[in-house]
Symmetry: C2
Amino acid sequence: MRVGLLGCGNVGAPLLQLLTTQADEIEARTGLRLEITRVAVRSASKERGVDIDPALLTTDAAHVVADPGVDVIVEVIGGIEPARELILAALAAGKPVVTGNKELLANVGAELFAAAEAAGKDLLFEAAVAGGIPLIRPLRESLVGERIRRVLGIVNGTTNFILTKMTEEGAEYGDVLAEAQRLGYAERDPTADVEGFDAGAKAAIIASIAFGARVVAGDVYHEGISGLTSSDIDYARKLGYVVKLLAIAEQSADDGSIGVRVHPAMVPTTHPLASVRESYNAVFVEGEAVGNLMFYGRGAGGMPTASAVLGDLIDAAANLRKGAHASLGSLAKADIRPIDDSSSEYYLNVEVADRPGVLASVAGVFGAHGVSIRAMEQEGLGDGARLVFITHTAVERDLQATLHELRELDSVHRVVSMLRVVS
Amino acid sequence: MRVGLLGCGNVGAPLLQLLTTQADEIEARTGLRLEITRVAVRSASKERGVDIDPALLTTDAAHVVADPGVDVIVEVIGGIEPARELILAALAAGKPVVTGNKELLANVGAELFAAAEAAGKDLLFEAAVAGGIPLIRPLRESLVGERIRRVLGIVNGTTNFILTKMTEEGAEYGDVLAEAQRLGYAERDPTADVEGFDAGAKAAIIASIAFGARVVAGDVYHEGISGLTSSDIDYARKLGYVVKLLAIAEQSADDGSIGVRVHPAMVPTTHPLASVRESYNAVFVEGEAVGNLMFYGRGAGGMPTASAVLGDLIDAAANLRKGAHASLGSLAKADIRPIDDSSSEYYLNVEVADRPGVLASVAGVFGAHGVSIRAMEQEGLGDGARLVFITHTAVERDLQATLHELRELDSVHRVVSMLRVVS
């Protein structure tokens, strides 16, 4: 099986290494001889830390796709173009494609899935979500008969690293971010990670596969972690929670509408997601029949991601040999539920004037919007007095209206923070 | 697709219910119409808590297998015979088989896999290990190109429930077992669970798939949890560990030999397996490229197990339609490493005479057998004085020789307990 590799960077290079060192083992296990016969790169002279026969290298990716000496395409360039055009060309030429490109799938996945279906060839993308963790295949295959109600994912390693440090060392966001940047865990411009865009793209892909519907990155509501303080994390701990950046995808059992969002959330310390530390990822799946599942592992890194690509590549090659291909079926149009219509429990921390009657007036605002309070605590005295609330399940719109009106109250100095709570 | 169901008990009945209520959804997602057309039961008059057309029922399982009106067979009878003969007959008749029968696969799996391969039909068995958790498919497919070094599994819900109660409530083994029996979590005769036989069968299947080798239940060394005391668990906690019953399968990177064993082990509290509570299962996989993975969920129960069977059934039906089948390749002969040759860190708790020179003589015994001590603590005084050791990694044979000689020492009253430690 002759493999054309598009891109030889931090995933392509380890993949090449895995294929070189393990070709014999893979052949013994599967009967497939996988050989990389062409490698498209931006610069043929760059040092990649892996042995490549220079004769394989080309800077013309379209040529690799069209080459009759290539049976299967692996796309690890990233970005939307030219990856999209190259994949469409490969499928049109009857070549299965393996990709780890989340941005592409979260934006134009439906077009690519349809092209794969029309060509009767595989388009596999395990590496696009949660790196090395087998997640897409279990969702596509093992759980295709399962009514999935909700998926909660820690799918961004950078933010989980930062939150772990804030939680375990009491450090402030800015300091930990700077450390993460020094260690190479965070980019110089960390926006895509810390503001939830990266997690949002993954959430869209997870929702598409879990619910069999066309969900794109633009459908995902997101809030990041840059506004979190060590005090938020401290309050959470006292109440029995840890703060995690979650990608949440849920489908209503009533009307089938789909909500997809990314935001920091308070997770009970006894929940399996609470013990996912450092840069690890985990995806928690709630199914009607199967109950709760969790998939845990390395969400990023060259080797883990290359391992996921390799699993897909073996599958695509095996399918090509037997003339079969995996199918996503036809994805339905998604009825996206806006964030305002979503429900959650909420944590609110409000700085108030410390005088009689304040609690009554604050509680009155909650009541007027139909938001019911599950627990309340007053902390501190005088100017720094705080009221900390956890609500029962409420609708986001009502909670936002409550927040808005609280801010207008004379007795409320400021709303210090609001966090959604996983129940 | 016409399905013949062999057995309609605690997995078969929920499967029938899932297929009835979700047939339309499954058809919309996959294009497959799954219909149960025959159901073999031991007694046609038994109440099953699920609507079955009495015309489908028969007490003749062989007849269901042979029926030309049945395309796919689901075997959820359990036990070795007649399940084995029925599955062989189904495969010989060109019918794919889905089974959740761990006892069967752990004993005669190789024969069945070979029969499936010869017939060119699926033999799928996700439900046989860790109930509803997608584990076998990720191991077979996603990780087929991965060099797996070690698998650590909590694969028995009953014992994990008992150990969770002992840990969190300080209760004694006997009391918790009695409670588990009252709640229906443990059988009246709990031997298969508490002595590690159930986990051992699952360990054999996991080792077979993870390492592509023929490992059977008889290859698995096992120790159960019935000898554990609340004091063991207390000591573990003080040292930063929890005690779990682990199924361990590992392959040596040097000579490819495979060790498979089940025993209680001390797991560091920061390890993801440590937070797997109550009757949940989880399987932790250590791969060379992918790093650490964990799969978590319900390891038993009718609905979760039926969900796993349903995923396989849809896959088998889809494969049958397109003339494909999943393949395990050919399993190699396993070179089984005996427990004596395995390595681990060890915890030892020794009751000694409280007099000068005792530590020196005890430590001397360790040294004489090449077992190096990582940490030691003395607890108590006088007659109840105890020495608690944690060793560096040592070979089991040397540790056993150490234990043997310690028991002969005048200054050692008794070896209170020995536990292996997961590093």
